[in-house]
């Protein structure tokens, strides 16, 4: 022990200073936490910052857009819908909280974070009356969700997160499973991966962003990465294969007519990615990069055969975002589609 500590008075003084500072700092943090909690409660009770239609308890019958409501106030983070012919109008907000949502007329897939001392993540399926059906645990932060056009299969992509800033690095898990539960094609990492006719035995592959091919319930597209490369793969559920068909395509989304794929294309570096929206013509293999200047980290959704929808976070309001619309041709201008919204699915 050092001399100054052996003097009881000095030691006592030091303890008193420590206890006072500890008290002040903890009190400060406590006051902040309590006021944050009160603000949260008030925010929940406060009316929504957007126009909300009076309580709907089911998915609409008319064509609609399903999305995650990110408007502050009541209904934040809940699945919501607007009529397709009046997307800027009042939204109907459900009571179902989701981080990522996708739907059709019969059902809705909801990926969410269950907050608790043990925070877990789940993929839940709801029917048209917002009643929960099957549900399965997923190993990380929700990223992408899709339902196939026949309404039998769903896919989910999550970022596998153990702990720490990055854990063992970037890892995703993508699973295809029946909406009704039961026997499942399962994890895409278990599928046979074929590049240029040769089977790649590598198991350190990441898959993300499934899109189901219209009119062919067995087929889908997705992104597969391995040792720093990225491929667009065409998958077969029955054969359990993934076949590389194109390079550098992330988060594919196939057009309703099945001829083109909208995707995000990294024009930056691996460390600092900048994703441009691009469209790949499956017939010719031609890529068209669209004019949106912001980096788009989303799986685009086709509004119809001509327009793409995608979410952009609001820089000034963390936790809030907007859905934008852009014509799927070169040199087109984006326009705001739905304010304070995320994760759109268009249900005709």
């Amino acid at each position: 022990m050092s001399p100054e500590l052996s003097t009881p008075v000095t030691a006592r003084t030091r303890w008193i200073i420590l206890l006072v500072i500890t008290g002040v700092v903890l009190a400060g943090a406590g006051v902040y936490a309590v006021s944050a909690f009160q603000r949260f409660q008030q925010g929940q009770l406060a009316g929504s910052s957007v126009k909300v239609a009076s309580g709907d308890t089911a998915l609409p019958v008319e064509p609609f857009v399903l999305f995650r409501n990110t408007a502050a106030g009541q209904g934040y983070g809940k699945a919501a819908t607007v009529p397709l012919d009046d997307v800027q109008g009042a939204r109907s907000v459900s009571g179902v909280a989701c981080d990522r949502v996708y739907g059709n007329h019969q059902s809705m897939v909801c990926l969410r974070t269950n907050r608790g001392l043990v925070t877990s993540f789940e993929a839940a399926v709801y029917n048209a009356d917002y009643q929960q059906g099957s549900s399965e645990a997923v190993p990380g932060v929700p990223s992408r969700a899709r339902i196939d056009p026949t309404g039998t299969m769903m896919s989910s992509t999550v970022f596998v997160t153990g702990h720490s800033y990055a854990g063992s690095g970037f890892s995703t898990e993508t699973v295809i499973r029946p909406l009704a539960g039961g026997d499942s094609p399962g994890n895409l990492e278990k599928f046979t991966f074929i590049v240029n006719g040769e089977t790649v035995t590598a198991t350190d592959r990441n898959m993300w962003g499934v899109t189901f091919v219209p009119g062919d319930p067995d087929s889908f597209y997705a992104t597969t990465s391995s040792s720093g490369r990225l491929w667009l793969v065409r998958g077969s559920i029955s054969a359990r294969t993934l076949t590389a068909v194109h390079d550098g395509v992330e988060c594919p989304s196939i057009s309703p007519d099945g001829t083109r794929i909208g995707f995000k294309k990294n024009t930056g570096t691996q460390v600092a990615p900048h994703w441009k929206i691009a469209v790949l013509d499956l017939g010719s293999g031609m890529e068209t990069v669209l004019a949106e200047t912001a980096s788009v980290d989303d799986q685009v959704e086709w509004l119809d055969n001509d327009f793409l929808l995608y979410g952009l976070p609001r820089a000034d309001q963390p936790g809030d975002s907007d859905i934008w619309k852009i014509p799927a041709v070169q040199d087109s201008a984006p326009e705001l589609f739905i304010e304070h919204a995320w994760s759109p699915s268009v249900v005709h």
Binding site: L18, L26, L117, T119, V141, T161
Partner: protein, 473 residues
């Protein structure tokens, strides 16, 4: 002399040896385990208790943020994690290199506490930054600051522990420190998730609470931990150092056994010389420390990141999927439970032995992960083994290094050992990623297990000489 004879026969042993006061001559204690006892009864140093509490507070602070960061980045800010994985690799490398540099700076300056405050302070400043950051690069910069702060503080803090501990109970003292440290690491994520449970988007609150714990930690360090000087400590321990250096002579090489006693005295004198620009050579000329660095590096090269083990576990076990975020906490809890028992075992049975045996526990965990077992049992067993591995290697390594480093290069020696381990483990994770990629998780685990089994045997032999030396403590 007895020890030289033993060495010439190649029979160097890890037996505890008793120091005959003042003479520098060491005589083996009778081998019967029951007769092994400490020279002085154990007494917990208040300095180490304070350092442990400082580490606990700091870990509550850092682990609460680390636990929620993936959610914050991807779920809340909408930033992709791929880039963070790459940047984090760079940060870990920087943090590893900073350890030896901070140790050296601490030795040169002669005030380990000041360097430790700089390290804890830098991490605290990073917490302040989190309150204002929102963009990709600002957060990446803050993570780098936090990591580097951790790298700076570790070696000088472990030097302070060494200076405050009774030498014969050194590993036990490190065990107490690591236990407190890991209580913080286990509490931090729970605290963070509790806040998010009450306030779903309450990331700012988590950052504020994290900053509060960081501030209290730094203040406690400044106020409670004395500014111990390695110089005075070295003076008090000069007799011990001379004895160790002399005892080490035969174990280095066959030639060394015949080295005239004048040379040994010269070396002993050099070991107690005040810190000058003698960083590179004298450090690695210490044969015991050199052996430790080689053995630790070899074992580190076969220590793949926990993340891989967790991925293997969650791949086959539904339990692990649901509780994936808690696997890390489970390992920490096992670490804190075993930290003191492993420290005590190391003091009695030999620190080198426990260090090597800890890697055997890791080996069993690899095999459990590779085996086609399902269910809760193997998962929990693997977490317990990982905890035992950390308990038997983390503090014990610092204890080993601090007993083998010359007094004037105490923090440098500790930092060197930690840098070697951190860099070799990074290399291990990178190599294992390639292996995993090539042959699949189970086969990769089996291959690494086989190599680790060989490495455990080899390092046991390498460490024999070194552990004999540190057992003299």
């Amino acid at each position: 002399m007895y020890l030289s004879m033993a060495d010439r026969k190649g029979g160097a042993t890890d037996e505890p040896v008793e120091e005959s006061a003042g003479t520098g001559i060491q005589a083996p204690v009778p081998v019967k385990a029951t007769t092994r006892r400490s020279l002085r009864p154990f007494r917990l140093s208040p300095v180490i208790l304070s350092l442990g509490v400082v580490s606990m507070l700091t870990d509550v602070s850092s682990e609460s943020v680390a636990a929620i960061l993936p959610l914050y980045l991807t779920g809340f800010l909408g930033l992709s994690t791929i880039a963070f994985g790459i940047i984090d690799g760079i940060n870990q490398g920087a943090s590893a290199l900073v350890r030896i540099a901070a140790g050296w700076a601490s030795d040169r300056m002669g005030h380990p506490k000041r360097i430790a405050i700089a390290g804890y302070g830098l991490s605290m400043l990073a917490r302040v930054g989190f309150l204002f950051a929102g963009g990709f690069w600002s957060i990446a910069g803050l993570i780098a600051g936090d990591r580097i702060g951790k790298g700076i503080r570790t070696a000088p803090r472990d030097a302070l522990i060494t200076m405050s501990a009774q030498p014969e109970h050194l590993a036990r003292h490190f065990g107490i420190h690591r236990m407190l440290d890991n209580i913080g690491a286990a509490l931090g994520p729970l605290l963070a998730f509790f806040i998010l449970m009450l306030i779903p988007n309450g990331y700012a609150t988590v950052f504020v609470v994290s900053l509060a714990f960081a501030v209290i930690g730094v203040v406690a360090l400044v106020l409670l931990v004395p500014d111990l000087r390695p110089g005075t400590w070295a003076g008090r321990n000069a007799g011990r150092q001379r004895a160790e250096v002399a005892a080490d002579m035969p174990s280095g090489a066959a030639v060394a056994a015949d080295m005239p006693s004048g040379a040994a005295a010269q070396r002993a004198e050099k070991a107690t010389r005040p810190a000058l620009l003698v960083f590179r050579w004298s450090l690695f000329r210490e044969p015991g420390l050199g052996r430790l660095l080689v053995a630790a590096g070899l074992l580190g090269l076969l220590t793949v990141g926990d993340g891989f083990i967790y991925l293997v576990l969650q791949d086959r076990d539904a339990f692990a999927v649901q509780w994936f975020p808690l696997l890390y906490v489970g390992t920490n809890v096992a670490f804190l439970l075993f930290a003191i028992p492993m420290g005590r075992l190391a003091d009695r049975w030999g620190r080198g032995r426990v260090f090597v045996a800890g890697h055997a526990a890791l080996l069993v965990c690899y095999l459990l992960a590779a085996a086609p077992l399902t269910g809760l049992g193997p998962t929990l067993a693997c977490l317990a083994l990982l905890g035992i591995f950390y308990a038997a290697t983390d503090g014990v390594l610092a204890a080993l290094a601090s007993r083998l480093a010359p007094a004037h290069l105490l923090a440098t020696g500790i930092g060197a050992a930690q840098t070697v381990v951190a860099l070799s483990r990074m290399a291990a994770s990178a190599l294992f990623g390639v292996l995993w990629f090539a042959v699949g998780p189970s086969t990769a685990m089996v291959i690494v297990s086989s190599a680790l089994a060989v490495a455990v045997a080899v390092s046991a032999v390498i460490l024999r000489g070194a552990t004999k030396q540190e057992a003299a403590a």
